[in-house]
Each structure stands twice: as C-alpha cells, then as structure tokens.
C-alpha cells in the first residue's frame, strides 16, 4: 500500500512522533499565514455578503450580469494561479513577494468598489480581486509546506484552512454590524473592508518570514514551461491526474445546494444557510482530518474524502431529509481534500518547486471542476437534475476506484 512518508531523506529525526511532542507540529509561519488568510477572508466575505444587497437595494440594478463574468474569471484565475506558483519559485524571497502582491491587489480593490456604480465596472473590480487571489494561492501554500516538516503538512494545511474558513464566517457578521450602525452605509462597509485587507497585507509583511532555501548553490531559474515538466515526477503526475479525474466528477457547490433544495423540497428562505452549514463542518473537521491524513496517508484520506462526497450524493438522490448530514458530509469532503491535497502535492515535489507544483495540481483540479460544471449544466438541461446527479455519482464511484489503483502504486513522497 502506501509508502507513506517513509522515503523522506532529510526531515528532522522524527522527534515529534513521540506522544506528547505534537506542539511544535504547526510552525509559527503557518499560524502567521493562517492569520493573514483569516483577516483577508473577513475582508473579502464582508464584500461578498453585502454586494447583492448593494447592487439591488443601493444602486437599484439587477445583478444577474455578474454571472456572465464568472466563467471568464474561472479560466483566468486558473492561469494566474500557475503564474503565481511559477514566480514564487524564481528567487530567494519569491513566495512572500508574490503573495504580498496578490494580497495587495485584492486589498486595493475594496476602496475601488466605492467608485464603481455599474454592473460591468463592479464585475471588473471583482475580476481584479480574483486575479489577486489566483496570484497568492500557490505561493502561500508553498510557504506553508516549506515551513513545515513533511510528516506534519496535513495538520499544518488543516490549521490554515480552518483559520481561513473562520475569517469567511466572521466577514458577513462584521459587514452587517457596519450596515446596522450606518443604516445602509455600503461605502462604510467597503472602507472598513479595505482597512481590514490592508491589515492582512501588513501581517504578512511583518510576521511571515521569507522562505529561505536550503540549497546553497543557486540553481538556474526555472522557465514557465518547466512547470509542466514537473509532471515527469511520477508521484506528482499521478496525484495531478487523480485530482483532475476526481475533479471531473465533483459537482459544484451551487448545483449541489440547488439540487438539495429541490429534491428535498427545502423552503427557499433556508437556501442561503446551506453554504454556511458546509463551511461550519469544514471549519470543525479541517484540523482533525489534516492530522489524520498525516497518520494514515494523505492520498488515502483524499480518496476517503471523495467517498464522503459520494455518500452526500447518495443521500440527495435517495431524497433523504437529513439535510444536516449532507452538509456535514460535504464539509467533511472539503476538510479531507482541500488542505490534504496541498499537503500530498507538497510531499511529491522538490522544495525549490513547491509553488509551481502546488499550482499545477490545484489548477488541474479547478479546471476539471469547471469542465464538470459545464457538463453537469448540460446534463441537467437534457435529463433533469436528479438523473444528472445519478450519472455524476456513478462516474465519481468509477473514478474513485480507478484513482485508488493509480495512487496505490506510488509513494507519498519524492526524494529530494
């Protein structure tokens, strides 16, 4: 089975494996990056929470036009992520600089919303915001993996994702507190959001150390196409292929919530609560499942996460009224896959190519999920939502079995 973590050649001599020595498992850098993500997510979710309200009630516009921009944003975001990962690998202070630019770009967008009063302009600002997000994701994850001993990366990513989600849950609360205090003062929400985002950038600059490479000799700077050459690493290639295959059978959140609401006849006013349920489960399970991944192998848990998703699909297909259980499974799926995939990818790539490797796997997965959304939409139109989900669930079961055999034959790590 999995040669989990056994081929590591230069990790510190496993003192942390002993009981009672797990405190140092999450380095300060990870906590600092978690704090940056938490603060930044408070800022961005503040805006997401009030944006529809601002557009409809504040500006008197119809927000439907935003949907059109989404597809473009997804495609661009995936490419920007590759670029961010590549730039992060290119020089001594690479990851931190690129991440700072990404966070900074998004922070600048918040005050710009004060000036944008039409749907296309607001859409443009959101696109720039997403570019910043795409740029910073891979370098940030690279810094997390570089700061953490390979055997603890699952937990480290779990801690980061939990802090990230905490920010996402707090953001709307802050936004509505500001709206209450100002009676529909959307400009105040955007201003406060901008200040919070600036604070996030500052925490990054002050408290996240630049990743120091262990390599003494400066290797030649990699070219962008070398990112694809990373796929020659058998472990990384298998992981990327499996993440993409599973991504092709992962129904997007919006579709799943829509199906849940329709199949179960859920009252429409409860609809906005569904993403909250998933996020809460993700928040609670991210750290324990990340730690479990370190124990039993990230690839195994990544697969197990998709089994949770399959169970969620089965419940929806069976018209089960256990909405809460579906959401817990859905959140569990994210907790078992989101940070865990990053940890697995980090362990399958050399230290000096962490940014590119993480971006490659993440982008492959994101593009696959986007393709799945297009296909699922078409299938829904042709056969109806229930059949479309049944087909996707069957496909997910098949890919899970395929993936099981693919991942079984490869080690969890690369020799560096």
């Amino acid at each position: 089975m999995y040669l989990a973590d056994s081929r590591d050649t230069k990790a510190p001599a496993v003192p942390d494996q002993r009981p009672g020595r797990r405190v140092a498992a999450v380095p300060g850098t990870v906590i600092a990056l978690g704090a940056v993500s938490l603060v930044t997510d408070v800022s961005s979710e503040m805006v997401s929470a009030v944006l529809p309200l601002y557009v409809v009630a504040g500006l008197g516009l119809s927000p439907l036009g935003f949907g059109l921009l989404d597809g473009i944003n997804n495609g661009v975001g995936a490419l920007v992520r590759l670029l961010g990962g590549h730039l992060a690998d290119r020089g001594g202070r690479g990851p931190k600089t690129v991440a700072a630019v990404g966070y900074g770009l998004s922070a600048l967008c918040k005050p710009l919303l004060l000036l944008a009063h039409t749907v296309p302009l607001i859409g443009t600002v959101l696109a720039v915001d997403r570019t910043g997000k795409g740029l910073r994701t891979a370098p940030r994850d690279a810094m997390i993996s570089l700061a953490t001993a390979p055997e603890h990366r699952g937990r480290a990513f779990g801690v980061h994702r939990a802090m990230d989600t905490t920010g996402a849950l707090l953001g709307p609360l802050v936004a509505f507190a500001v709206l209450r205090a100002t009676v529909d003062g959307y400009d105040a929400v955007f201003a406060v959001s901008g200040c919070v985002a600036a604070l996030g950038v500052l925490v990054l600059l002050l408290f996240v150390p630049s990743a120091r490479r262990t390599a003494v000799d400066p290797a030649p700077k990699p070219a962008l196409r070398d990112s694809l050459a990373l796929l020659r690493l058998p472990g990384l290639r298998r992981l990327a292929v499996c993440a993409a295959l599973l991504g092709l059978t992962t129904v997007s959140d919006s579709f799943l919530y829509l199906l849940l609401q329709r199949q179960l006849g859920l009252a429409t006013h409860l609809f906005p609560l569904l993403p909250l349920g998933t996020a809460a489960a993700f928040l609670l399970l991210a750290v324990p499942l990340g730690a479990l991944a370190d124990r039993i192998g990230r690839r195994r848990l990544f697969l197990a996460g998709h089994v949770l998703l399959l169970l969620a699909y089965a419940l929806v297909l069976g018209h089960s009224s256990a909405v809460l259980l579906v959401l817990v499974l859905h959140g569990g799926f994210y907790a078992a896959t989101d940070g865990v995939l990053a940890a697995a990818a980090a362990n399958a790539a050399p230290d000096d190519r962490q940014g590119s490797a993480l971006a490659l796997v993440g982008t492959g997965q994101a593009l696959a999920r986007f393709v799945c959304s297009l296909g699922f939409g078409a299938a829904w139109s042709a056969w109806g939502g229930h059949t479309a989900l049944a087909v996707t669930a069957t496909a997910l079961a098949c890919t899970a079995v395929t993936t099981y055999f693919l991942l079984r034959s490869s080690a969890d790590e690369v020799a560096v």
């Binding site: 979710e45 119809s62 439907l64 201003a191 919530y257």
Partner: protein, 339 residues
C-alpha cells in the same frame, strides 16, 4: 526587524487603519441621521391613515423623501401629484396593490444579518399573512381582482462564489393562501416544445386575471416573454428579449425593458411596448436606461422609476412612442394606482 519593532508597527497600523474605518462608519452614520431630517424644498409629507379603498383616484408608492417618513408607503391624489403626501407608517422595499389587497416586501434587520419577508395586506394595510422571502426583494404585483399576488427576490446561493445570482418568483392565492414558492417548477414550453434547463430564472410577474399572467423567463443567455397559467402550472414562450413585462389595463399590450443592441453594455435597457395581437414592438420616447417594471397609469401612459437625488424619481411617457418623458414625482419608487 526585532519582534518588538514589528509589534509596534502592527499596533500603529491597527490604530491608523482602525481610525480610518471608524471614521468611515461615523461619517456614514451621520449621513444616515441627516436622512431623517426633512429637506428644504422637498415634498411635504405628513403621517395619516392610508386606505387602499379610499375614495377618489390616488397614487400609492414608497416615499423616498428625506425625513421621518422615508421609506414609508404613502399616497398622493392622482390629480395633484405635487400635493402633500400621506405616509402610512408602513415601511416596504417594494409595494403593489389592487382591489383592496396590498403586497409589501420588507427587510427585517436582524442582529447578524438581514432577512426578508413578504406581507400580504388588507385595504387598511393590516397584515393578513406573512411569508419568509429567500433573498433581496425586487418585483411585486397583485392581480386586478386582488386575489393573487406575486413577488420576485434575488438569491445569491453560494457565498464563496460571490457573483452567482439567481431569481426566485412566488405566487400566492390570497383566498386560500396556497403558495407556489418557486415558479421554476412550472412546466416550460419553449418555441412549441417542452423545455427544461438548470439555468432558468423567472421574474417580473404581471397578471391578466386570476389564472393567466405574463413574466420574464431567462435561460441560455436569452430572455423571453412567457405566458403563465396558474391552474395548469405552465409557462409558454411568446417573444424574445423581454424583461419585466407589464400588461396594459385593457390586456392588449405589454410594456417591458428590452436589451437594445446599440446601447452600451452597462446601460442596455430601453422601454418598449409589444402589441400582443400583431406582436409588433414600439419603442417609447424614453431614451434612457430603464431597469424597472413599468406601470400603466391608463391605456396610453407608462410610469417607471429612474435614479434620482434621493434614490429614485417617477417618470412617465406615452405608450405609443410619441411625445416626451416627463418627471411625475420626485423621491418615489414602486408605484400603484388606487381607484
């Protein structure tokens, strides 16, 4: 940099950014207070009793004029639109009324977030029934008899997507309180064939009678005028590029906003009228961007809102494409005629 220096820099930044944020909140709060004070030269508003069955013809609307009655449902005599407004004390985001039935879409400001509700009112604006609403209210209509009411809200389903909006439209029978809370479950007949898609959005109902209505159907990047049947639960497409239809009192024409091909992408909608017998379109004299469901004042005149100094103003233009638009009422939105 030493740790103590880092903490000092962070502390200074927190104080500075906190100051900016607090300043922005205080400024906005102060502006909110000013909105509660009447403006010189603004329309006169006094509180009084508003009845949907009051004698004489009146215009009822959401009053946007600054002062203590901002956002309240108010009336003004139809023959004297610049006269004193009578404010009801009832606050609504959207409102419509016919034959003694009113519909009011309200925001309920909670501690943690806003929620929305639909209130069906009797002629004295007393609550008859309340339904929770799934999102931000945008359209409301009552059938001519007062028996049916419809409303549309915007829903953003996934907070992580941020930009993924859709609409929900519901119809209720005020005699039985039977509720169709999502018209997307109706069977769609598009160009003569049964049609289903995941991306259908329906909004902007306008009633012909207690069975038939018209609405907007959007799917595959196109918008359609659909005729709906409450009994048969069907939607049938009639025409393309139609949003927010509004049926004339004589039932022969539909006013709507249309994406004009030559208009800029950020202000694409122009006001048109469609003759349902000949299916010919007439463009009205209004040249500006209209993002509203128009209201027929009579069989020849349309009312609609445009952005104004206090949120929105009401304008009117002839329905036959002649004449010129003129401003009817400042600081008002969501109108309906009574009597």
């Amino acid at each position: 940099m030493k740790n103590s220096t880092r903490l000092l820099v962070l502390l200074l930044a927190v104080v500075l950014l906190g100051g900016i944020g607090t300043g922005a909140v205080l400024y906005a709060a102060d502006r909110a207070d000013r909105r509660d004070q009447e403006q010189a030269g603004g329309p006169a508003v006094r509180s009084g009793s508003v009845s949907l069955r009051a004698p004489g013809r009146q215009l009822v609307f959401r009053n946007l004029a600054w002062g203590p009655h901002r956002d309240e449902i108010a009336t003004v005599p139809a023959g004297q639109l610049d006269g004193e407004r009578t404010a009801s004390g009832l606050k609504c985001l959207r409102f419509h009324a016919a034959s003694g039935t009113g519909i009011c879409l309200q925001a309920v400001h909670g501690a943690l977030d806003d929620s929305y509700r639909t209130v069906l009112l009797d002629a004295e604006l007393h609550e008859r029934h309340v339904f929770p609403a799934a999102g931000i209210p945008t359209r409301a209509r009552v059938s001519p008899s007062g028996h049916l009411a419809a409303w549309t809200v915007f829903v953003s389903g996934d907070s992580y997507a941020g930009t993924d909006f859709s609409t929900r439209t519901a119809i209720v029978d005020t005699r039985t309180w039977a509720l169709d809370d999502n018209l997307e479950t109706y069977a769609i007949v598009k160009d003569g064939h049964p049609y289903q898609a995941h991306d259908t959005n329906i909004w902007g109902v306008t009633f012909a009678d207690d069975t038939r209505f018209y609405a907007t159907l959007a799917t595959g990047g196109q918008t359609y005028l659909v005729q709906g049947d409450v009994t048969g639960r069907t939607l049938t497409t009639l025409h393309q590029n139609v949003e927010c239809p509004s049926l004339s009192p004589d039932g022969t024409r539909i006013a709507y906003k249309k994406r004009a091909p030559e208009a800029s992408a950020d202000a694409p909608w122009r006001l048109y009228v469609l003759d349902l017998r000949t299916m010919t379109e007439t463009r009205t004299a209004e040249q500006r961007n209209i993002d509203d469901q128009a209201l027929w004042a009579d069989d020849g005149t349309l009312l609609y809102s445009l952005p104004g100094d206090f949120g929105a103003d009401l304008w009117s233009t002839p329905a036959d494409g002649t004449g010129a638009p003129r401003q009817l009422l400042t600081a008002a939105v969501a109108p309906a005629y009574l009597g």
